[in-house]
Assembly symmetry: C2
Homo-oligomer: 90 residues x 2
DNA sequence: GAGAGGTATAGCATTGATGCTATGAGCTGG
DNA sequence: CCAGCTCATAGCATCAATGCTATACCTCTC
């Protein structure tokens, strides 16, 4: 079929992903500190290592959904992922 | 520091991830069909290939956030990812 | 039957996130 | 000063998602 991609994978999407990673990291750090947990404690509870938690909280990588789910479970919150119509508020 | 992981990476998390993948795939298929688009068209608009779209819609893989963002942009919807307190409704 | 469009699937290469270990910097309390 | 804790970072191995190409299957139309 010889499809041609119109969107370049390294443009706006990369920026959005980085921003999302940053905000998710901030959220987790906030939830973690609210519980008075160290990175090592959260890592233990979520099946990660302290280095991975640090990397994630700093926004150093774009997290995967399995990781987000494990973090949510450890922090006793619910992970919400979905689409909504443009303009709809939370 | 010698941390010990308590949660096994292949247990409940895997199930949740698969379920999330399945539901996200269903959402995208619904949004795509509502627009009357073929997989190839959506692929073109979102910078993917038809095979990747098919794989994703079938729930064959757990999508990454950059991919979800590109799909959302192509479908003109907003991707929402975040944590919320347990029990809070949408 | 041939052709075209839409979808599913396969195989392989690439890329990136994570696991893992180790270490450094900062800070506090002894 | 030293010990301990916390967080940040580095290097490497592994794994999984995606890109890419090709192909098979189905349905419709001619």
């Amino acid at each position: 079929m010889r499809e041609r991609r119109l969107a370049e994978p390294g443009a706006v999407e990369a920026y959005d992903a980085a921003r999302l990673a940053f905000e998710l990291g901030r959220s987790v750090r906030e939830l973690r500190e609210r519980r008075g947990w160290s990175q090592a404690q959260l890592a233990r509870e979520s099946g990660m290592t302290q280095s991975a938690v640090a990397r994630f909280e700093a926004g150093g990588t774009v997290p995967t959904l399995p990781v987000l789910e494990r973090l949510a479970a450890a922090l006793d919150v619910t992970l919400r992922v979905g689409f909504e119509a443009r303009g709809e508020a939370a």
